[in-house]
Symmetry: C2
Subunit: 229 residues, 2 copies
DNA sequence: CCCGCAGTTCGATGCACGTCGAATCGTCCT
DNA sequence: AGGACGATTCGACGTGCATCGAACTGCGGG
């Protein structure tokens, strides 16, 4: 009773600032970032970064964790990531300005983290390979694992039953903004990305959402899925 | 190549204005609205309404159709509706100001259109009834029709196979902002709402997103699903 | 104990943009 | 054709808000 409706203008105005949008875009990588880190990547002073982070905190879009005396900011939850994704889907493409911006954009295009799962061309290759080898099917806006797919995940060391039991979406499709194709998200996508890191097949770049494929990862992906890059 | 990433700040800033947000919230009802209509509900002059509609048009968030000489604005597509939904999910609740605002909010709480499907308490009742009678199951963030559910839809006169063939999501769950429960969306939810209107079970209010249950609708819903309101 | 680093607060500045009224344009109806 | 209505454009006004530098706080280490 007496709740009133959601004030979408407030959140949207919050995201609508270029600097805050860059913060969120950066935090969409899923890892925690420090305030000065965000300030430098966004190209603003520390005071403005602090100001914006304060507002994002107050609106519960980000949260701060004190990790070893150092405080790091991260997205407040998956709903925030989902909202940013859906905004990306209806947002206009902005043309790249500088050359170095183009090179970093290229790295992100190849492979990056999208909150908790892989995105970019690598993610598309994964979906394609898993589909052609009969591990994965795509029907009506979401993926589904086949019997072979389930055993493939088990062989990789992923507990499929635990993923099924999770309240979150099992194998949802996340529409990319660079590629126009859906890639694997949800519990399955997150588990896959996490396992790839544990196995040392991929590595997160230092201060970026970008992801690099390790030599062993290249070999293993070619061996298990026939992916050649 | 050379695309650059999506400019979420631009879209978010667009939605971030109170007046434009009200426009979009109003258009979320799914029906076309005229410019002056939107102006009056938002409480601004026609000139400002025209100004804002021009910006929304340029950003491809809304589209205008000339229908019998009259031009009416509507959301540009389901992606826009999805984005607004996801924003509502992370938006703070704003407290109601006036008493008449509270009464209209109450009407919306009871039953309303959410772009192309039903939302509000009525939608929740529907999901509950269909679940308890074994027509519908909810697993991992999306619904699924049982065998009985499929035949129930067929009896209602809905072509299930056509819905399956559609590229859109079949029976996705849309998380409401008033109730905290998911309701039926996607192709199934849209078909259900449309059929209810055709059958005269529900009626759209004149200039609102609100929906009223007709006497026959009340009887039929009680007969077929055991819903009593 | 004091220096340096990280982060926040404060006051001032300046730009961007939402708002309105009046004027203009286009279309439909009589 | 003329009148009425709806809608858009334009210029001007006001205000909200992002930005910065400088000062302040808190903390860890030499």
């Amino acid at each position: 009773m007496m709740v009133g409706d959601a004030d979408i203008a407030a959140v949207a105005a919050l995201i609508g600032d270029r600097t805050r949008a860059r913060f969120l875009h950066e935090l969409l990588g899923g890892e925690g970032r420090r305030a000065s880190e965000l300030a430098s990547t966004a190209g603003v002073s520390r005071s403005t970064a602090s100001f914006h982070l304060g507002r994002l905190l107050a609106a519960n879009l980000v949260e701060v964790r004190v990790h070893g005396g150092r405080r790091s900011y991260r997205l407040a939850g998956p709903e925030v990531a989902r909202a940013i994704e859906s905004l990306q889907r209806i947002a206009p493409r902005q043309t790249v300005r500088s050359l170095r911006a183009a090179s970093t954009a290229h790295a992100l295009d190849c492979a990056r983290f999208c909150y908790d799962h892989l995105a970019g061309r690598l993610a598309i290759e994964l979906v394609d390979a898993m589909t052609t080898t009969g591990l994965l099917t795509f029907t009506n806006d979401h993926f589904e694992l086949t019997e072979q797919g389930i055993s493939w995940f088990r062989d990789l060391g992923i507990d499929i039953d635990a993923l099924r039991a999770a309240r979150r979406s099992f194998a949802r499709a996340c529409l990319d903004w660079s590629e126009r194709r859906p890639h694997l998200a949800g519990a399955t996508g997150a588990a896959l990305a996490g396992r790839f890191i544990e196995l040392g097949w991929i590595e997160r770049a230092a201060h970026s959402r970008a992801v690099t494929l390790t030599p062993t990862g290249r070999i293993q992906l070619h061996r298990t899925l026939g992916i050649k890059i």
